[in-house]
């Protein structure tokens, strides 16, 4: 795309984009760190994730201020308007992903205090898949690649399938080990958090796609496979 005649306008948009990218990277790191702490039942690691979430909150505020300045000074239209609106929404979504990672860390601390319980392997697979979705959608954002954004948008099914499996697996373990129900409930919620992170990655994909193409993807059309909220799973 050609540069703006007013160079300061380009710089303002570049700054905004850079905040969004940094947030994406940070959210990804938080997720990885939270899962590592969970797997190793590392309380220090979990505490670190909890306190690091503030950085994401700070960046979100910074992005909001930068976006408001662009609205006030430049009255953006067309591609610029879509860019700023999408950045505002994306930072809100990424901040939410950070909250899920923080929540995983909190639950890790709770599990740590109770008797140590081995993390279900499927959670690790889920976290890997969720992390890849974040990474790929942020790459699509940086490279303005609408096709890759669309690909992430359609990919959420895999994570939903993993979630269904993890849900069943954890439920089965609950039945086998009623004394671990407290800890296992946390794992159930963690699985849900990971599934939600995937949903948020698809929300980011919608914003990226809109920024680039001007077309709004309808969430209703997105393939979904998560049945755990609508079905009763019994052995």
């Amino acid at each position: 795309m050609n540069d703006h005649i007013v160079k300061a306008y380009d710089n303002e948009l570049k700054d905004l984009r850079s905040i969004v990218s940094r947030m994406g990277g940070l959210a990804e790191e938080q997720l990885v760190a939270a899962m590592k702490a969970l797997k190793e039942l590392d309380a220090d690691g979990a505490w670190h994730v909890r306190s690091s979430d503030r950085a994401l909150d700070q960046l979100e505020l910074e992005a909001e201020r930068a976006a408001i300045v662009v609205f006030a000074r430049r009255a953006p239209v067309a591609d610029d308007l879509r860019e700023v609106v999408a950045a505002l929404k994306m930072t809100g979504i990424i901040e939410r992903i950070g909250d899920y990672a923080k929540n995983i860390a909190k639950r890790t601390l709770a599990v740590h205090e109770a008797a140590p319980v081995v993390m279900p392997l499927l959670l690790e697979q889920m976290a890997d898949e969720a992390r890849r979705m974040i990474q790929d959608v942020m790459d699509a954002y940086v490279h303005r690649d609408a096709d890759s954004a669309m690909e992430v948008w359609e990919r959420d099914e895999a994570l939903d399938n993993l979630h269904n499996a993890a849900y069943r697996q954890i439920l089965a373990r609950m039945m086998e080990n009623p004394n671990q129900i407290g800890a296992l409930t946390h794992f159930l919620m963690i699985a849900k958090n990971l599934e939600r992170i995937g949903d948020q990655a698809t929300n980011i994909a919608e914003q990226v796609y809109y920024t680039i193409t001007g077309i709004m993807l309808e969430d209703a059309r997105r393939p979904k496979r998560d049945f755990t909220s609508t079905e009763l799973v019994e052995e």
């Binding site: 050609n2 540069d3 703006h4 005649i5 239209v77 067309a78 591609d79 879509r82 001007g214």
Partner: protein, 266 residues
């Protein structure tokens, strides 16, 4: 007179344009200023013509009521209709045409006459009023429609040129309205006005759009976004893109449109 020309036909759901330009070319001597432009203009709608200086938007606007006739070197080709009738037909009375297709210019240009006579001039020469009372009525309603009545009703005998710039521009709009036009052409009507006067003219345009087809040339992108329903982007004599204003300003289809409205090098 009941004007059915732009009502939606329930059988076809197709609106008939108030004015239609088909493959219009304009030359100033050897300079090809407007290149094969086709554009439909509707009542109940404000169409904004935007584009850089020299893009042909004002030239095109002036074709719509044959203002270019007065330019000796100017040649207009193609077809422009008003309610389906060719306005370049030799049988057309140009004075009558300009009453039906009124015009408001960049700089307010009231006649050096009283406020009353500024409005009454058109209706008089077009024989729209038989008695003084009819004329009073036309003057009052025209000024009311232009949102100026309350500001000038006690000084109708003062010269029009004594009003503020914004009031003068609304006086010119009232003058255009006084002869019952069907189309109003505006050539950068706010570029000489301050923001308050601009807002008043824009509010007026919004109110008038239900009764007239309004075509406005503007250099202010934000003004086009604020007041028009349709936007046409001109560039070097071409009509690059024409569509719903919201579409043009959120997701233009053409790169040249995007570069222009976002202020990019193009």
């Amino acid at each position: 007179m009941l004007d059915m020309s732009t009502k939606v036909d329930p059988m076809t759901e197709i609106r008939t344009p108030k004015m239609a330009a088909k493959d219009v070319n304009v030359f100033y001597g050897d300079n090809h200023a407007v290149k094969g432009i086709s554009l439909d203009l509707y009542r109940d709608e404000v169409t904004a013509l935007i584009g850089p200086s020299g893009c042909g938007k004002s030239t095109f606007l002036r074709c719509l009521n044959r203002m270019n006739d007065t330019v000796a070197t100017c040649r207009v080709e193609g077809n422009i209709t008003l309610d389906g009738d060719d306005i370049y037909d030799p049988k057309i009375d140009v004075v009558q045409l300009r009453a039906r297709v009124g015009m408001v210019f960049q700089k307010p240009n009231p006649f050096p006459k009283s406020i009353y006579d500024n409005i009454a001039y058109g209706p008089r020469i077009h024989g729209l009023a038989r008695e003084r009372a009819d004329l009073d009525e036309i003057v009052a309603t025209s000024l009311e429609k232009a949102g100026l009545w309350n500001e000038v009703k006690d000084r109708l005998d003062s010269p029009g040129t004594a009003l503020s710039g914004g009031q003068q521009q609304r006086l010119c709009i009232a003058r255009a309205i006084a002869v019952n036009p069907e189309v109003i052409l505006m050539d950068e009507p706010c570029s000489a006005l301050d923001p308050i006067a601009t807002a008043k003219v824009e509010a007026l345009i919004d109110e008038l759009k239900g009764r007239y087809a309004i075509i406005i040339v503007t250099h202010s992108m934000q003004q086009a976004a604020r007041i028009s329903q349709k936007t046409a982007f001109f560039h070097m004599g071409d009509l690059v893109e024409h569509g719903d204003t919201t579409q043009i300003f959120t997701a233009p289809k053409e790169e040249r449109t995007r570069d222009y409205i976002t202020g990019r090098f193009g």
